[in-house]
Subunit: 875 residues, 2 copies
Amino acid sequence: MTTKYVYLFKEGNASMKNLLGGKGANLADMTSLGMPVPQGFTVTTEACNDYYANKKVIKPEIIKQIFAALEATEKEYGKTFGDPNDPFLVSVRSGARASMPGMMDTILNLGLTNVSVKGLAKLTNNPRFAYDSYRRFIQMFADVVMEIDKENFEHLLEAMKHEKGVELDTDLNADDLEKLVGQFLVKYEELKGQPFPQDPREQLIEAITAVFRSWDNPRANTYRRLNHIPYEWGTAVNVQGMVFGNMGDDSGTGVAFSRNPSDGTNELYGEYLFNAQGEDVVAGIRTPKPIAELKKDNPALYEQFFNISKKLEAHYRDMQDMEFTIERGKLYMLQTRNGKRTAQAALKIAIDLVNEGVLTKKEAVLKVEPAQLDALLHPQFNPAALKKARVITTGLNASPGAATGRVAFTAERAKELKAKDGLPVILVRQETSPEDIEGMIVSSGILTSRGGMTSHAAVVARGMGTCCVAGAGAVRVYESKKYFEVNGEKFSEGDWISLDGSTGKVYGEKVETQDATVSGDFATLMAWADEFRALKVRTNADNPRDAKVAYNYGAEGIGLCRTEHMFFEADRIPAVREMIVAKNKAEREKALAKLLPMQRQDFIGLYKEMKGYAVTIRYLDPPLHEFVPTAEKDIRDLAKEMGLSYEELNATIEGLHETNPMLGHRGVRLSVTYPEIAEMQTRAVIEAAIQVNKEGMKVVPEIMIPLVGEVKELQMIKDVVVATAEKVIKESGVKLEYLVGTMIEIPRACITADEIAKEAEFFSFGTNDLTQMTFGFSRDDAGKFLGDYYEKKIFASDPFAHIDQKGVGKLMQIAVELGKKVRPDLKLGICGEHGGDPLSVEFCHNIGLTYVSCSPFRVPIARLAAAHANIKNPR
Amino acid sequence: MTTKYVYLFKEGNASMKNLLGGKGANLADMTSLGMPVPQGFTVTTEACNDYYANKKVIKPEIIKQIFAALEATEKEYGKTFGDPNDPFLVSVRSGARASMPGMMDTILNLGLTNVSVKGLAKLTNNPRFAYDSYRRFIQMFADVVMEIDKENFEHLLEAMKHEKGVELDTDLNADDLEKLVGQFLVKYEELKGQPFPQDPREQLIEAITAVFRSWDNPRANTYRRLNHIPYEWGTAVNVQGMVFGNMGDDSGTGVAFSRNPSDGTNELYGEYLFNAQGEDVVAGIRTPKPIAELKKDNPALYEQFFNISKKLEAHYRDMQDMEFTIERGKLYMLQTRNGKRTAQAALKIAIDLVNEGVLTKKEAVLKVEPAQLDALLHPQFNPAALKKARVITTGLNASPGAATGRVAFTAERAKELKAKDGLPVILVRQETSPEDIEGMIVSSGILTSRGGMTSHAAVVARGMGTCCVAGAGAVRVYESKKYFEVNGEKFSEGDWISLDGSTGKVYGEKVETQDATVSGDFATLMAWADEFRALKVRTNADNPRDAKVAYNYGAEGIGLCRTEHMFFEADRIPAVREMIVAKNKAEREKALAKLLPMQRQDFIGLYKEMKGYAVTIRYLDPPLHEFVPTAEKDIRDLAKEMGLSYEELNATIEGLHETNPMLGHRGVRLSVTYPEIAEMQTRAVIEAAIQVNKEGMKVVPEIMIPLVGEVKELQMIKDVVVATAEKVIKESGVKLEYLVGTMIEIPRACITADEIAKEAEFFSFGTNDLTQMTFGFSRDDAGKFLGDYYEKKIFASDPFAHIDQKGVGKLMQIAVELGKKVRPDLKLGICGEHGGDPLSVEFCHNIGLTYVSCSPFRVPIARLAAAHANIKNPR
């Protein structure tokens, strides 16, 4: 049996998403629900994969099936593709399994030729419409299929508008457009060296090929990497009979959400344009009307659309994002999908749907993407500062949150400015396009002068949780001159402005921000999440300030306190350096004695903020050279300060130099050489715990030895720790529980975890180092080639952002199994940066860890991710 | 039942070596063979381990058993320990499971006191003997048990000899010695603050404790590490009734081998001294007589000893190393063990024993230690150069081989000189002692002015395969003044001399050396070894010269050709640098085109030397910055040479800087970024193979991609390799087989070896990098703390010298299993430096590798080790 590569909408259904893509499956689904869907067919994702497997050629078998489906569709419409008098026209659109808004290319009005455009004009008695459709088609085909920069055609359009003294496309008449079509065809031939194809079948196959090809373009690859969409999925292609929103003022096109995607309010939310084709709305070239006005403009049609919207929402049990077209007063549904939404909206919609009886709590928890919460947890404007701030204009509140930063006018410059000093950047553009994606990622906020709530900038910003003010019409952007003007005031590249994405206000200065306060919906959903999760969530915190934030976000202990962060502080570093230059143990102990009271005080602060939750303290980890200067002048100054000769100090510092510091004298290796460091740190940990417990708390400190690769390392240091701790406890006369465990961050530790578990009372996976050593590249150096690795599809995502499950994850699994075999009640945690990444949290749940530990702001994300993990795969 | 910690010699047997140690088991064995062994008892290795487990205290139960055994032994002798008139005296000697010559401490004459020495004098009517025994005992006890530097007593002895105007100890009379004993006792009390113990039982327990303690002394630890003797084995202690070689001229002591340990000749070989105690012979203070002279001195005794020697050799089926004492004309056997021997002797003895019908070939192969062969394979003097060389003196030919190097007078200086510039060093000392061990290891040769063939220097040097000339009496060493004089000529520290350890000749200059020629015995034994091994042995060779050496040593192919070594050569480096600074692919390809003919020529050379054996070529591996200078001046010069501005070149070079070069942009990562490098290298590999095969050879090149951690890396480069190779082959019109495989040197490669095996036609374990990444430390940096790791017994041996079987080895096993699951005929090799280490070779055999690859000089060692492995654990 031959594989079926092409499905009519009538042949598909909602369960065939993997094969038909999201768009194709939903078009089939809407068809079977009896909704007004222009009929057509879907070329499957398998056909796309076959195309790539087959040296980027669509094989004859698939082409045969395409034309068979085309024939069936022609019959449906009673029209013929390429008919000179009444041409059947189609749209060609991509549709992957996961929605990739704006990332892939679309072609409308396909099938028009120099001959049939005349037939269409005659048949519809609307030459303006016919030539408008044709000029759009030529431009899209040239751009998408032939990779001719669309600027070439836009210049001609602008010139024509200028010549005619009009502002909008709609002001051009049929003659103007016919003339423009002529110019386009000349331009096309000039640039391609061959005329615009006049065979609709050739157009169709070229267009489908272009969609397949677009799956592999750089911005699609970037989007996939950021959203963990496997390259192997491929895209389907939807070929759909055209309906026309540009047939006159009784025609139009629009997009709408079944609920407000910005705040979640249960109201129809969207925009439409009369006498336009779809791209006009999302590209933001003309500012569209709010959907509510359709109620006035055409109440019956509004009613019909509203009912469809409710029906679809109920059907999919989620808020829908829909595209529609009105052709001569008749409504057509072009697509529906679960709508992207802000975090705030996601929370409200999820909770409302529970209250409406549509979803269970469990289902509602799954509707909120953990990563989205980030937007809620980031700083907001300080209200006092905001009061004094000067509003320079107001645009659309396209994506909530507050941002302050320096102005940049191109994605490129935004990246450069940000990279230069790390200070925030705000990307200011007339409108954004998919090419701007990387600049948008680095920016703290996005301001556009054109486009609406569903413009590219707005949709993408919401998805990323980045603050966005869109369509701020008063803003005039002079990109090449590197400034924008608003009401006569000029702002140049590098000037500070601020955006409030929730109100749409733009401020002409830097405005102080402050921590987010979490709303009632947030608390409700997090409480539900906590009901369902099995993983505990701790935080990485080195000081009481961070510990407090994390506690308020629900952290259930500290999973990692990096004691060296305390060592770097100004009042400690002299004693640390004294320890480093010490010539013998006695001198070293003298220096350590100075650090003891400070460390003790640090730990007291942490214990108190954690109110009895476990606090895990990692012993000194970095190589000692990190604590000393390297420049000659600094060494001279320090030598003077320490009363040493320059030569002497310099010799010590040179002695500390390492070829590969990542693989050097650090972690437990320091304690093996200088057990007195572990001794001092133990004294501080235990004395602090005793003191806090005397005040009525019950802290159980967890002492964590880093970088262990061989059980005897741990054994030796554990002996030092236990001897010291027992001595301190005995001195104090009170009882104290404490644990001694280890980081698992070296491949050998994973492989020999059964031996290590004999000594370790807990494991905490240090996945940053483990990733570096498992892959054999350092984070500092991998930057040079990781770009090539993404481009050449060797890596699908950054292994430092998401746990590499096949390699690093496998080692973790081995360690968990070996460790539990020896010590069934072994506590298992993770404290690498992966601890706050939802994909990695899910993995940690699945391999049976006890807790994850992450930065304070990621704690709620980890809680929600843990709930998702346990709902999907209950323990 | 209580554990039995103490065994009488009569209670033990040869199979109890683990419990009784080698010496104890053999004493028991000799006893049961009816040989004249002074009776006594052995305190077990378990007692030693108990001592360490018990905070370094011998527990009462063990002490009870010791005294019970002592009582039984007293009965045997009819004497009583501590009897003032007729004291029973004992020796206390260590005896571990493996022989550790000279590493552990011995005490003789234990049981003497101020009172009983008088009784002994009276009883024996030999006051000289009694006081000589007592003064020796005091000195040994002070040294070994109380850790008082023996120098203190030797000064007194020297002063006495000076006072009496005599040269030898034996020239001192009873009065002198009695006086000396008095001085010793005063000195002892002065230094220890308490009198010399007068309770023999206290002496005994202190002495046993000291032997246990000596198990953990630094030189024992070093010896164990070098010889892979586990710390956990512990040492036994032998307490044996004393017989006295110092009772007069009818008494004596000696050591002898049943065959010549230097060349293997079947003759009794050894030395003895009249009127002496054992240590006098081995310490080399007096130069002893050859054993042959005993035949004249006392034919009956010689005959008796000779017969015992033959009987023991037949019993143990190996050459024996025996200690004996003659007390008033009666022979006593104090110990026997399998004798250490030179590699030459080992070969000859093994082959002779086969010819004599004592051993099978298989057993004979096992009798030769692979590591020993090293001594045979190292350079010898160039005969022409030797002819002209000036002999300054001749000593004993104590350990064969040739050495040339700079003179150093202390172990310390030897290490420093060697470390400074890597040039060879010859250690020159009056006599060596165990403290010198580390200096002996770094030295190419050892010259002593005193001591015989069984002196410390001679025994240790033979064991290490280091050339040694001992007892060169004409040499006067002035250690503190840093020169030696021989026949009026002065040689200072740093001057070059040469030694011929096979003739005993010392040359007063540098003498050119040349490759070893391997003897008939060598060839015979290697042929036997080849019959029994399953592992193939290849070599690591980057040039035809090395390839030729390896081929002659039996290499069955090249397992690793590091192409970058060719890149560093003067005629290539400009093109390499041109490639590095290239601004684009075209420029890079231009530079690579210059390298192509040179690389092709290199490969032709290698293929030809290998005469049809497989040649494995590893593609460019090191980070590019290794090919460019870093000093400003050098960069300026290079910029000029290359016609670039300094700034431009410097920017390129700075761009190449890496924080952790070990974990940077290298290996396959370079090819991912610059596939054109792999393309050029493939062209060179394939074109060279085609050319050589046209000349009638049949080379199958094996292309090896380094540093793969993810199958997609390999996939991508393999595509480039195969496309290029197929193109070149097609162009040539001939057929050519080739393989594409990968190094397995990254932990992730082991963990995902099933995926990698889908693409790789062979694996070659790069255990240098794999060790670094598995442990998470770099070889360059680990030097700083590995010393601490040995000292604190965290590591038993250097993981870069012997495969860490628990960690790195486990990963290798995982990789083998996963790889074979996917590709059952997967070729498996190792090309790290471990490939030439016998312990690692055995491991590689056991996990089922196809071949090991090692440096040319290690090929025979690997062949023999592979035979051992397969004999012990047949495939």
